[in-house]
């Protein structure tokens, strides 16, 4: 039996509600009571939050881990450490490992080994949508869904063939499986390393036009409509894509979208000076794009905020900008990054947490992500205002490629509970 814990004198961020409420929460393995808790059972640990915030643990729907196959980048253990410190209690692991997660036995491996090594952080596998991620033939979606894959994706490699994506979307409907697809026209994006615009021209870097995203998103949404499949547009970057998504949702297409937290906080100017840590895929775009994405999160048009955690060792980033790898770590900066929008007054706190807790839980059909009786006690205690300057060398991840390096952020996780057990105590 997990020892019960009572957190009192807290501000509760319940994503199901529209405002923060004062109250307490009592939990063991599951949440026993929330709101006006009458008392704690004998032997319970009692924490006086002293006005700090309590929220459901974050669910990060897009995390790259190097295990198996690239353990020098990240392991279940290091990812678990970083996640717990960042308030991420459940993470969805991308299938671009070696070997690729395209077989039920590998799904089983991740489910067993992940939580065993991660220090309790729940690691859920996203399965490859096509065999070897080569975009040609769909994988055993049914068998892997039964084995526990929570979504199906081709990762960073968009599927060129509309026919392949059509069939995969259609086939996945049998299992009500969610397909995440990166909308990026591979031909328009080929060779590009940053947002196409004046800055890219001045820096002499090949650009990726926003049109690459809009074109592919239009195609993907049209196919989702044709097949009645469930589609998550993975990590939108451009304002131009948003009206397209809005129209599709209004038509009743089962379409959802995520955004990488970096794209809500940073823009193309962060690339200036050839900063390879800000080299992301999709690229950081203009300030207008960033503002539109923030608005879309606030409106609920964008469903989910992800860290896009993509660990890259120094040797992949200490290169001329064009040659450097794409990607940034994000497990420990998802929360403070997202809280930037709260501190600026751009997005209401409950809305912000919805995109990192209850909405991902709904899409993944998880019982987590709620401050409700009987939900699993995956809970974080946060000091929302705590200021700090990010020192990427101190990140717990095995890689430290964060574009937030040396930036001033606010918001620190004081304690992380998973199924009622403390997995981080800061």
């Amino acid at each position: 039996m997990t020892k019960p814990t009572l957190i009192r004198n807290a501000k509760l961020i319940d994503p199901a509600k529209n405002k923060v409420e004062d109250g307490a929460i009592l939990f063991a393995e599951t949440i026993l009571d929330v709101g006006n808790v009458s008392g704690a059972p004998e032997g319970a640990e009692i924490i006086d939050a002293d006005g700090a915030h309590v929220a459901p643990g974050l669910i990060d729907m897009r995390v790259v881990i190097g295990e198996p196959g690239a353990e020098h980048k990240e392991t279940f253990k290091s990812a678990g450490r970083a996640a717990a410190a960042g308030g991420v209690t459940t993470l969805v692991m991308m299938p671009n490992t070696t070997p690729v997660l395209d077989d039920q036995s590998l799904i089983d491996f991740v489910l067993r080994r992940g939580i065993d090594r991660s220090g309790g952080v729940r690691i859920l596998p996203a399965a490859a949508l096509t065999q070897h991620l080569d975009g040609e033939l769909m994988t055993e979606i049914g068998l892997m869904a039964e084995a526990g894959a929570v979504l199906f994706t081709n990762g960073d490699k968009p599927i060129h063939s509309s026919r392949t994506l059509r069939r995969a979307l259609s086939y996945a409907t049998i299992f009500d499986a969610l397909i995440a697809h990166r909308p990026e026209d591979p031909y328009l994006a080929e060779g590009g390393v940053m947002h196409e615009g004046e800055l890219a021209a001045r820096l002499g870097l090949p650009g990726i036009p926003a049109a690459a995203e809009v074109i592919m998103a239009e195609r993907d949404l049209t196919l989702a409509e044709l097949t009645n499949g469930k589609l998550l547009l993975d990590m939108l970057s451009s304002a131009q894509t948003l009206p397209t998504l809005k129209r599709a949702k209004a038509r009743g297409v089962k379409a959802f979208a995520s955004v990488n937290v970096h794209h809500l906080v940073l823009n193309e100017n962060d690339v200036d000076g050839y900063r390879t840590f800000a080299k992301l895929s999709p690229p950081l775009r203009s300030e207008d794009d960033r503002v539109a994405l923030v608005q879309a999160v606030s409106d609920g048009l964008i469903d989910v905020i992800v860290s896009g955690h993509d660990p890259r060792p120094a040797e992949d980033k200490r290169l001329p900008y064009e040659e450097a790898a794409f990607g940034a770590v994000g497990l420990e900066t998802l929360l403070p990054g997202a809280l930037t929008l709260h501190h600026k007054g751009d997005v209401q706190l409950n809305t912000l947490f919805r995109a990192m807790t209850s909405r991902p839980a709904e899409l993944l059909k998880l019982p987590q992500g709620r401050l409700a009786k009987d939900a699993p006690a995956d809970i974080i205690l946060i000091d929302l205002g705590a200021p700090f300057r990010l020192d990427s060398d101190k990140l717990r991840s095995k890689s430290n490629n964060s574009p937030f390096d040396e930036k001033l952020l606010q918001g620190a996780v004081k304690r992380t509970f998973i199924a009622g057990k403390t997995v981080f105590n800061g």
């Binding site: 065999q131 049914g142 068998l143 392949t164 049998i174």
Partner: protein
């Protein structure tokens, strides 16, 4: 419809006496219920003959039947050959290798050549939908479609219906689940048309990638969950996975297909107790059907289907020969 023979097992001389009104047998979709039952009733009298020592009639003596097969076939071609021979016809088998050049033109040229030989019955199988109909417009004799592309295979549906009728009596009111690769199946199209015509409740079961767009408008109910579709079915008709007709991945793998859509004893238990199993052959064992089901004589009608095929084809030949004899010469 007052005059239609009531279904069930009976050798009805009055039904047989009624002339079959179609010149060709190209598609079940061309038949009304009366015509379909006319053919099934005719087959009733040929079925017992198959077990007799001397299996030959002289109904078609002096007539010529040409088997024109552009696609390889074992059972359908030999079934038509036997049917023709038992009816006393002269049977010529022409196996035409499909050439890659201008198939349409080749088909019409072949038709002209054959027509000059003055056959009475032409049985044709072709890989292109609509080929039998095209041929029927170019020749003077009766044309029987033995399978055209992904369109129809009317004699297969007739023999399936005949097999069900001979085992369960009336087809009216039965629930028949047709499972598997509906998209590429001419057998499924003919069977949906015939079984619904005869009053059965037809269900189509398969992954959405193997279900043609609009199938729900055929008068059958579409299921993607096999277990839901099998519930209370009287007959389970498995379709052959037409891998030779597939371009790219319609489903991930044979093992996944078998897991979700292969008929094994476990899934069959969901159907009505005593439900019968059919398959048009040739079977992909361990892909769409488990051997424990296919080889179980208590549930499997698969061999009966083959046997009944000859009787049904004899009936079709007889009906069309009569029909042709009464028509104006071309």
């Amino acid at each position: 419809m007052a005059q239609r023979p009531t279904g069930g097992k009976k050798s009805d001389q009055s039904a047989r006496a009624i002339r079959f009104r179609q010149k060709h047998l190209l598609a079940i979709a061309d038949l009304d219920r009366f015509e379909a039952e006319n053919l099934l009733d005719r087959a009733e009298k040929f079925a017992p003959m198959l077990d007799e020592k001397i299996k030959k009639l002289d109904t078609l003596r002096g007539r010529t039947l040409i088997n024109l097969f552009f696609e390889n076939s074992t059972r359908t071609q030999s079934s038509f050959e036997l049917a023709g021979k038992r009816m006393g016809a002269d049977v010529v088998n022409m196996s035409v290798k499909s050439s890659s050049v201008a198939k349409g033109e080749t088909l019409i040229d072949t038709a002209a050549t054959l027509n000059a030989m003055r056959p009475d019955l032409l049985v044709v199988r072709h890989g292109s939908s609509g080929a039998a109909e095209l041929l029927s417009r170019k020749v003077d004799c009766a044309v029987i479609n033995a399978g055209d592309g992904k369109h129809e295979h009317p004699t297969q549906a007739l023999l399936d219906a005949f097999t069900i009728r001979s085992r369960l009596g009336d087809i009216e009111g039965l629930t028949v689940a047709i499972c598997g690769d509906v998209l590429h199946s001419r057998v499924a199209r003919s069977n949906v048309a015939l079984l619904t015509l005869l009053g059965a409740q037809v269900r189509l079961i398969g992954p959405p990638t193997l279900m043609p767009a609009g199938a729900e408008k055929w008068g059958a109910k579409v299921f993607h969950d096999m277990r839901a579709g099998l519930k209370d079915a009287d007959v389970v008709m498995m379709l052959r996975l037409q891998r030779e007709r597939m371009d790219g991945g319609f489903f991930p793998s044979a093992r996944e297909y078998f897991w979700f859509y292969g008929l094994d004893e476990d899934k069959l238990r969901i159907a009505k107790p005593g439900a019968l199993v059919m398959h048009p052959g040739p079977m992909n064992r361990g892909v769409e059907i488990d051997s424990s089901v296919a080889d179980n004589p208590n549930v499997s009608l698969i061999e009966t289907q083959v046997r009944m095929g000859v009787a049904v084809r004899m009936a079709v030949l007889e009906a069309l020969a009569e029909s042709g004899a009464n028509q104006e010469p071309a």
